[in-house]
């Protein structure tokens, strides 16, 4: 993989955002927010397994699994009252799930800044997604060691 090549889903998400003008980028983020899947049942009663991303202003929790084939599965939950955070989590979940651990770790840390959201939602808020991505990568690093 060349340094500039993004995994296909992340590239598609980026292209989708950049093709829109600013108000429509917000609408797309809202669609992502609505698409955030429910937690799998085995985590629903185990909030202790989930890691809180304290850098986000809203309560958001993520949990990464690395399976025996080194494939990453990512889960996240955030309240409905925090649609922006949910949208960010949904992008990270959709973009990373199914990648190998190596592919996840190769995702550029500044990917959230490439979606054209700085103007639509403000640079400060985009940092919340940067933190989510950072946490997800950190969890993958830790879990594949096991």
């Amino acid at each position: 993989m060349t340094p500039s090549a993004l995994p296909a889903v992340l590239q598609e998400i980026k292209d989708e955002f950049l093709a829109l003008d600013l108000p429509d980028r917000l609408q797309l983020l809202l669609e992502f927010s609505n698409e955030l899947p429910e937690l799998p049942e085995r985590y629903r009663d185990h909030p202790d397994l989930l890691e809180r991303v304290v850098e986000c202003q809203s309560p958001v929790f993520i949990f990464a699994e690395v399976d025996e084939n080194d494939v990453v599965h990512l889960h996240a939950t955030a309240p409905r009252e925090s649609p922006t955070t949910r949208g960010f989590a949904s992008i990270v979940v959709q973009g990373l799930t199914g990648l190998t651990a190596d592919e996840v770790l190769a995702v550029p840390d500044d990917y959230p800044q490439e979606l054209g959201l700085a103007q639509a939602v403000s640079p400060l808020r985009v940092r919340g997604m940067t933190a989510l991505l950072g946490r997800a990568k950190h969890q993958v690093t830790v879990k594949r060691r096991r």
């Binding site: 927010s33 809203s58 949208g87 939602v121 400060l124 950072g134 946490r135």
Partner: protein, 300 residues
């Protein structure tokens, strides 16, 4: 004033009852001539998930902050923004939002910098409206554009800059409205992760710690006047006539406290230091104190 005030008994206790309306009052007056309803949230997408009918959205980042300079928008831009939202200079504006009206209070404070006279908060904000099962809609309103005059922003009365705070040290009270962990300085950055941080942690010498949300009851309404007096005059030691400066991290939470001190308790000289900890905690050679005690301020 374009629209009458809410005569609720609870508000009558406050220094400026005309600055609050109840959910019932708003429900009764939606659609009145001369009334505009504005939603202002922390979350930039929350409005899009459903809002009070006729409410327009004003976002604190993308609408009220200058995109380049660390400052609020210019007079020209403010006039354009309000005109687009259908707000005229004499419109009664009721602002509401999420999280105990945190960002709504910030928007109200910015409206006040521009001298918009009749601007009020919905007591209890978005949460109370929804908790009461009142109507929300995703239908985008189409306000009739208004002519809003280009008026100068007055930064001298209710806004404090870093030099103002330095000059205030040892001469008047400061209120730090952040969490106790931010105040004491024990909460620092987590290595490798970006935060809205500063290079040093702690608080401004002599500042009293009163986390902003203590002014709100569990249902997001403001606490009754007697309880607010006990917190700000009893515990924090403010006295009538004091010049007070409030701060937080970027000036949003302290807007809420500014509202409480100014409009509910009647302090006439309260300034919000919007540079707040993100500026003070990174500025060179300004004094700071760590730990849970206020510490000594020496007059500059």
């Amino acid at each position: 004033m374009a629209v009458g005030i809410d005569p609720s008994a609870k508000f009558a206790e406050y220094a400026h009852p005309e600055r609050l309306v109840s959910t019932q009052w708003l429900s009764d007056h939606l659609g009145d001539d001369g009334l505009a309803v504005v939603e202002s949230d922390e979350d930039v997408l929350l409005y899009e998930t459903g809002h009070i009918p006729t409410a327009v959205k004003i976002d604190w980042h993308t609408d009220l902050n200058d995109p380049v300079l660390r400052d609020f928008v210019s007079s020209q831009r403010f006039a354009e923004l309000l005109g687009e939202k259908g707000i005229a200079r004499d419109t009664t504006v009721v602002i509401y939002g999420d999280k105990n009206n945190w960002w709504a209070a910030y928007a109200l404070w910015v409206f006040t910098l521009f001298g918009h006279e009749d601007v009020r908060l919905l007591d209890g904000g978005r949460d109370k409206w929804i908790a009461e099962g009142r109507t929300i809609t995703t239908e985008a309103p189409r306000p009739v554009p208004a002519q809003y005059p280009v008026v100068p922003r007055d930064d001298s009365r209710i806004r404090a800059f870093k030099d103002d705070v330095l000059a205030h040290l040892g001469r008047g009270p400061l209120i730090d409205v952040r969490s106790p962990e931010e105040y004491s300085g024990e909460r620092t950055e987590i290595p490798g992760y970006p935060t809205e941080g500063a290079l040093r942690s702690g608080h401004i010498p002599s500042a009293a710690s009163v986390p902003w949300a203590r002014a709100a009851a569990p249902d997001a309404t403001f606490r009754p006047r007697a309880e607010l007096e006990a917190i700000y005059k009893g515990e924090a030691g403010l006295k009538d006539g004091d010049d007070v400066i409030a701060y937080c991290r970027i000036g949003e939470r302290s807007s809420h406290t500014w509202f409480v001190l100014t409009h509910l308790l009647g302090f006439e000289n309260v300034r919000n230091y919007d540079g707040s900890w993100t500026e003070w905690g990174s500025a060179v050679r300004v004094p700071i104190v760590t730990g849970s005690e206020p510490g000594e301020a020496r007059a500059a």
